[in-house]
Subunit: 95 residues, 4 copies
């Protein structure tokens, strides 16, 4: 609904986030390989927990950028109802 | 510590798990692309929540196989202390 | 830091929240009784999961009131840095 | 389904668990009071996060006793299917 240009993930964060996601992609590929090679289940589960934690970390960084950017701007522009409802929905998906 | 052959992820599950992980790998790559293309933060956060839920699902399938396989076998072979301590540790990482 | 009067939980919610917390208090007392009476562990665990879910629900209602009230007001009064940092901290405690 | 006597929470844990639950009951009552007295939302949310963490801790202690007691015994008595299915269900409720 808002124009893309208004919702840019903060540029300095972008490189960091892409690097983190590349690492997570590698972790997921590694988990797939562990399953194919019949590695021990508990080692696989620990890798899954690590990938999930890394993904949560990316989510929190993006959420922080969203609140400091889009949410603050939306409220200042008196567009608060829509932006706040949307924020609460996304928080509920993570809790 | 146990021999690999004793800890095989159940064969019929293996194909399904590898397919699920390939899909998650694609989701993670898609999230990275959304960030590069400055997509709206909330759409990115929803994709992250979806990837995390898919990863949890894989974790639960592997945990189930582990309990039904390694844990049951370990307890029957009177190796219960080590296997139960390890199981509780892995559960704590997921809760 | 802000005056109490500015941070009132919305009045219509207050009665509902107090009722929910009374019910949770009763659930916690019931769990204690189940332990004293040596009830089956899985039944106790299910009650704990139910109490935790009820507590999360209360948290989400208060968080919603906080965002719609204090956060929106803080941002409009250009006090955005402090209020947003505090909000992100509290979200991290729940994720 | 199993007789109560077989599923006793380990006696040495019982006093500790009841004490923890009494403390949680007090925390929940305190949260209710904070709401009645219009305390700041973020302070209330932090108290809710603390009560939830304390409840999770109780859940993990009971889960540990359950696995070391009922689950090990069930598997040794070749009653493994029912007990393992029940265990996986309860883990899913907590993850």
């Amino acid at each position: 609904m808002p124009e893309t240009s208004e919702h840019l993930v903060h540029r300095s964060n972008k490189d960091d986030l892409v690097k983190r996601l590349n690492r997570i992609e590698g972790q997921v590929r590694g988990i797939s390989k562990m399953i194919s090679e019949d590695k021990y289940c508990v080692d696989i589960l620990n890798q899954i927990a690590a990938a999930r934690a890394a993904l949560d970390q990316v989510g929190l960084i993006i959420l922080e950028g969203h609140v400091r950017g889009c949410v603050v701007r939306g409220i200042k522009e008196a567009n608060e109802d829509a932006i706040v409802t949307e924020l609460l929905d996304v928080i509920k998906r993570f809790v």
